[in-house]
């Protein structure tokens, strides 16, 4: 999932302050799972903003809506009437969702309510970890399903740096050493010989370093 965290409430309040009617639009997929922008977070944020503006003797009308995904037009359509009724949209989706809304509603102000963080998983309830950098050339088969590009602080591709202690990274002792995990996992899988394969310097052209990327599926284009 794409993880995000809600912006500080006072930053959000400043963003919406110029508008009289605001639609807080949640996204029911990734940001819901990481407790940043689902239905519950929309309700809490709406309540907090109403309290804050009442305290400031400012009247503001806040409408609440959560759609399944803000990154797909099919779902975005469900928000159309709500968008029409309001002066601005405070989107609690990731940056992709915010931009998809802005693209779909060209004459409407769309404001971001969350800071998008990374592609990750829920490690345990309430703890989310980064697992994928979207480098565009996946090598997980070689590394036993553990990504050194993302999870090794030094992005080493040909074995550990030697600085880890008791399986923890020397850069951040709260982070497991990715190479410690890779070696443990390859040992379990009987694939330790994978480490004899030399991995050449990574070509970052397929990553964001090569500029904004586009994925084209010709078979789905009419």
């Amino acid at each position: 999932m794409i993880t995000a965290s809600q912006k500080p409430i006072n930053e959000i309040a400043e963003l919406v302050e110029p508008y009289k009617k605001v639609l807080i639009l949640g996204c029911g997929t990734c940001v819901k799972t990481c407790f940043a922008g689902g239905e519950d977070e929309v309700a809490v944020l709406a309540s907090v903003l109403r309290l804050k503006f009442k305290k400031m003797a400012r009247s503001i009308e806040i409408e609440e809506l959560t759609i399944e995904r803000q990154c797909e037009n099919e779902f975005i359509q469900e928000a159309s009437s709500g968008v029409d009724r309001n002066d601005a949209i405070l989107s609690l989706a990731c940056g992709a969702g915010v931009q998809a809304m802005a693209k779909r509603f060209a004459k409407k102000v769309v404001l971001p309510g969350v800071n998008t963080s990374f592609i990750g998983i829920q490690e345990s309830p309430g703890i989310f970890t980064e697992e994928c950098s979207g480098c565009g050339n996946c090598g997980l088969a070689t590394f036993g399903g553990i990504c050194p590009v993302t999870r090794c602080s030094k992005k080493l591709l040909n074995g550990p740096c030697g600085g880890s202690q008791k399986g923890l990274c020397e850069i951040d002792p709260d982070t497991p050493c990715a190479w410690h995990l890779i070696i443990e996992r390859l040992t379990t899988l009987g694939q330790l010989d994978n480490l004899k394969t030399y991995i050449p310097p990574k070509n970052w052209n397929t990553s964001l370093s090569g500029g904004p990327r586009k994925l084209i599926r010709e078979d789905h284009i009419i």
Binding site: S47, R50, K55
Partner: protein, 134 residues
């Protein structure tokens, strides 16, 4: 500036942590919200209590390790603490919201909690979000 004569309290409680007695709420108006377990305490419910006019919100939960559902009171405490930080952030004063470990058999301590809350309200004043629109 006083906006109403008697302070308004909203009291969320789990079934096992609170039992109302006759004189418990002298000097204040109280709305009680009964929950099967304090784990049902949700951020938005606490906030909406303030939107609905509460000057203070109390959450009464079972004593530590006495929760029948094991983690209910722990979850409630985390949510209360989260909402307290939000209230501080928006200038509402997190002291308006508090959580206490109580037992329905101990009405004396609950009386003390309410008295203490009313005294605190004399210091921090009424709900500041209601001065302008209610």
């Amino acid at each position: 500036m006083k906006i109403h004569n008697k302070p308004k309290l909203t009291l969320f409680h789990c079934l096992n942590s609170f039992k109302e007695t006759a004189s418990m709420f002298d000097g204040c108006e109280v709305k009680t919200v009964k929950m099967a377990c304090s784990s049902m305490t949700k951020d938005v419910h606490l906030l909406r209590a303030f939107e609905s006019g509460a000057d203070a919100v109390l959450v009464l939960v079972c004593r530590e390790k006495a929760c029948r559902y094991a983690e209910g009171s722990i979850r409630a405490e985390k949510r209360v603490n989260y909402v307290k930080t939000i209230l501080d952030d928006i200038g509402m004063d997190g002291k308006r919201l508090n959580i206490f470990n109580t037992s329905s058999k101990d009405s004396g301590s609950i009386n003390d909690i309410i008295k203490k809350t009313l005294l605190e309200l004399e210091i921090i004043g009424p709900n500041p979000a209601l001065n302008h629109f209610n």
